[in-house]
């Protein structure tokens, strides 16, 4: 078992009353590659700076080799840092940058030469010794920064987002190289990053941080396969995260189906989050898998396809769209025209009905022969607070008038107990031209039908995910058309090397150990 090198005990850090670290405790072993992973603002860099000695902790201790190092200034610590933007000394060349620490320690010239030369070959910068550091590429500057830190033979090397300034290919190359260097020099590396891929490739231990707290500590395989909560699962890799219920040990349920799993130790019927990694789901023939689905989209990603399959549809409601021809009223004397459509409305909304609301719902407009808009000033309606059909007249000051019907109805919402969602929408009247002129038809249809979906659990609004209709909006004629609005169903992301067409009906299969059940965050 490796020896404990650094013990971080209950570190708290506040800046101007803002708590950045909320009591971090962490053990770091000798010769370990530890990654502090988290989004910006989670406190990972602050923790690194406390270890380096650039910042003092408000509370807690950093113990290195059994000794509290709080009172030891940065320049006396056995720790060196590779900075985010490298912070190379611009007035020194490559050799002198690397030799800086040794020169400070007044080591003999031949020893300095020997050590610097070894470092230069470790990071592969032979031939660049007397180059101006400001003329080097990002990757080369990075290597100088690593060599400059390592030449001092620290017990710990701290790397602060050190790869983030490099381009993607170089970053991948440096990941491998860093790991290789760490293996070769055999010291502890503490690496700070927000990039989960970097963390997974290089680390022996990943520390996932959030809002100044540690969420999970584990090996890359642990945190990938066994994330402890939704946050960690989302941070590490692509996942399907599903609300479910733990029926009993080794049996979890979601979307009204039970599935075997290998997790246990939860309360009976405890609500949980379920993770299924996209690469763990296999596509099989319909009815041969654990559940069926329809391919919604398929993206080619190089090695694999990323497929979205819908396994259960959302809550939906179908309404009728009454399409009428032109029904403009012409007022020849005033050289004006007016148009408006009858509409249906919810009984609940009658109380708040206003002139401008009537104009909007009826899509009323008036214009002159020269196509100039005319304002609608004369609006009269007498709508009672009960179900029924009422006349409404809309007119201009010149006396141009149109009469429409307002249908006050009690809405029949479709409720889906399984999805715990409700959706409602109204039949509506529109002219051929209005449909042809719509630039965003789906959005307009939702607005015209006043379609609305909400969660029956907490009444929060649910997005209308899909609008289905079977007409060609540019060649529509008068008549009745059904339109279906629905919410998002269950969609699963799948990574597979096989190609599947959109619309294909498939079966989905996984084994019980591919399901990972997590406690709800709270």
């Amino acid at each position: 078992m490796a020896k404990k090198l650094i013990e971080i005990k209950n570190i708290v850090k506040t800046f101007d009353k803002q708590v950045v670290l909320k009591g971090i405790s962490l053990d770091i072993m000798e010769n370990e590659f530890v990654t502090l992973l988290g989004p910006s603002g989670c406190g990972k860099t602050t923790l690194l700076r406390i270890i380096a000695g650039f910042l003092d902790a408000t509370e807690g201790h950093v113990i290195m080799d059994g000794e509290d190092i709080a009172s030891i200034p940065a320049y006396k610590r056995d720790v060196n840092t590779v900075f985010q933007h490298y912070a190379l000394f611009p007035h020194l060349d490559v050799y002198d940058n690397i030799a800086f620490g040794l020169t400070i320690k007044k080591e003999p010239k031949d020893i300095i030469d020997q050590k610097v030369t070894r470092m230069i070959s470790l990071v592969g910068l032979e031939g660049f010794e007397h180059k101006d550091v400001t003329l080097l590429s990002g990757g080369q500057q990075q290597r100088v920064a690593i060599a400059r830190a390592l030449v001092n033979e620290p017990k710990v090397l701290l790397l602060d987002e050190s790869l983030s300034a490099l381009d993607k290919n170089l970053r991948k190359e440096m990941q491998l190289e860093l790991k290789e260097i760490q293996r070769e020099v055999g010291i502890t590396f503490i690496f700070v990053t927000h990039d989960q891929e970097e963390a997974l490739t290089m680390s022996d231990k990943i520390v996932i941080m959030k809002d100044g707290d540690i969420e999970q500590i584990g090996t890359p395989a642990d945190v990938y396969n066994e994330p402890i909560n939704e946050y960690c699962a989302r941070f590490i890799g692509d996942s399907n995260i599903i609300d479910g219920v733990m029926k009993k040990d080794n049996l979890v349920s979601f979307d009204d189906e039970d599935y075997k799993c290998t997790d246990y130790g939860f309360a009976e019927n405890e609500p949980v989050d379920i993770v299924i990694r996209p690469e763990d789901i296999d596509i099989v023939a319909r009815n041969r898998g654990l559940l069926n689905g329809e391919v919604k989209s398929s993206l080619f990603k190089g090695v694999h396809y990323e497929i979205i399959a819908e396994t259960s549809s959302g809550t939906s409601k179908t309404v009728m769209m009454h399409v009428t021809g032109e029904h403009d009223v012409v007022n020849k004397e005033a050289h004006e025209r007016i148009s408006a459509s009858s509409f249906m409305m919810d009984l609940e909304d009658v109380a708040s009905l206003s002139d401008s609301e009537v104009i909007a719902r009826a899509n009323a407009q008036a214009w002159t022969d020269d196509e100039e808009d005319v304002s609608l000033t004369d609006i009269s309606y007498d709508v009672n607070n009960e179900v029924g059909v009422y006349d409404c007249t809309i007119g201009t000051s010149a006396g141009t008038k149109i009469t429409i019907k307002i249908n006050v109805v009690k809405p029949r919402a479709v409720e889906d107990a399984e999805n715990e969602e409700s959706i409602q929408a109204f039949d509506f009247f529109r002219t051929v031209d209005e449909i042809k002129e719509s630039v965003a038809l789906d959005t307009d249809l939702i607005r015209w039908a006043d379609a609305y979906a909400w969660s029956t659990e907490d009444n929060s609004r649910v997005e209308i995910w899909d609008v289905k209709y079977d007409f060609d909006d540019q060649n529509i004629t008068e008549g009745l058309y059904p339109i279906t609005f629905s919410t998002q169903g269950r969609e699963l992301k799948i990574e597979t090397t096989d190609k599947h067409e959109v619309g294909e009906r498939v079966g989905l299969q996984w084994s019980p150990e591919d399901i990972h059940v997590m406690k709800k965050m709270g």
């Binding site: 200034p73 611009p90 007035h91 101006d132 400001t134």
Partner: protein, 261 residues
């Protein structure tokens, strides 16, 4: 770009009339003798020979150079710590300090020097010390601002990095801060040494006529004696010395390139 190039024409014309032509005339005067008709120039080096033969002129020249040298040295000695302290302040305080340093420049240099004359007359000081006080007072802001600018451009991470690599505060200053601020010191030297070496009204006002510098000599020959030829010769010698010193400072001032990130 081509059309913009034409905008430089007025400046070029101005430069030619006001700088190049007078310079050429100085050269012309310096190599001729008094009483020439415009059509019958008599070329001669007698003005230069006179300068170096009479021991008084090289003595004054040497005095001017040492005076300017020590003025510059004192300005660095006072200006560097001042600029360093300014660069360490909070941004708001820094702005106020820059304002305070530049504030005296809002008043004409001549007026301020007269004020010093009044103040210094209350004390029994040698004329040399009075001239030094006037020189340092007038040129110090240039030194402070140049050094302050180069210090405030230094990336804070470099100082942290230096600590990280084992350097204490003193070592960090000597090995990182000082080398990186050197370019500011050198431009400060240019801005202080050059005007100091040729200054004439400060020694005239504060030296009380007892402390003659090269600038005063030139002024005397032009205004009092009316010997423009000899005055031009002294000016030319001064110009060459200034040219050489500018070349030397330019050589020293290899500004470190900006850090890429």
């Amino acid at each position: 770009m081509k059309s913009f190039a034409k905008l430089t024409i007025p400046y070029i014309v101005w430069m030619t009339i006001m700088i190049i032509v007078p310079m050429l005339m100085i050269v012309l005067y310096a190599v001729t003798v008094q009483g020439n008709d415009v059509l019958t120039f008599q070329f001669t080096f007698s003005n230069f020979i006179r300068f170096f033969q009479d021991s008084i002129f090289p003595t004054v020249l040497w005095r001017s150079l040492t005076m300017a040298f020590f003025t510059t040295l004192i300005c660095i000695a006072i200006g560097y710590p001042m600029a360093y302290a300014m660069a360490k302040l909070k941004p708001r305080s820094q702005a106020i300090m820059v304002l305070l340093v530049t504030l005296p420049m809002w008043i004409n240099m001549l007026v301020r020097t007269y004020a010093w004359k009044g103040i210094l007359s209350n004390f029994d000081l040698s004329s040399e010390i009075c001239v030094y006080i006037g020189m340092v007072y007038n040129f110090l802001p240039f030194m402070i601002l140049q050094i302050y600018t180069s210090l405030s451009k230094i990336d804070e991470n470099l100082i942290i990095a230096s600590h990280d690599l084992g350097a204490n505060d003193r070592q960090t200053f000597l090995r990182v801060v000082l080398p990186l601020s050197l370019s500011g010191v050198i431009s400060g030297i240019t801005l202080v040494f050059l005007p100091a070496v040729s200054s004439f009204f400060i020694p005239k006002l504060l030296g009380g006529g007892q402390y003659v510098l090269i600038g005063n000599l030139i002024e005397d020959y032009f205004i009092s004696t009316g010997d423009w030829n000899f005055g031009s010769a002294i000016s030319l010698i001064m110009a060459i010395i200034i040219l050489i010193s500018m070349y030397v400072t330019k050589k020293l001032d290899k500004e470190p390139p900006e850090v890429n990130d």
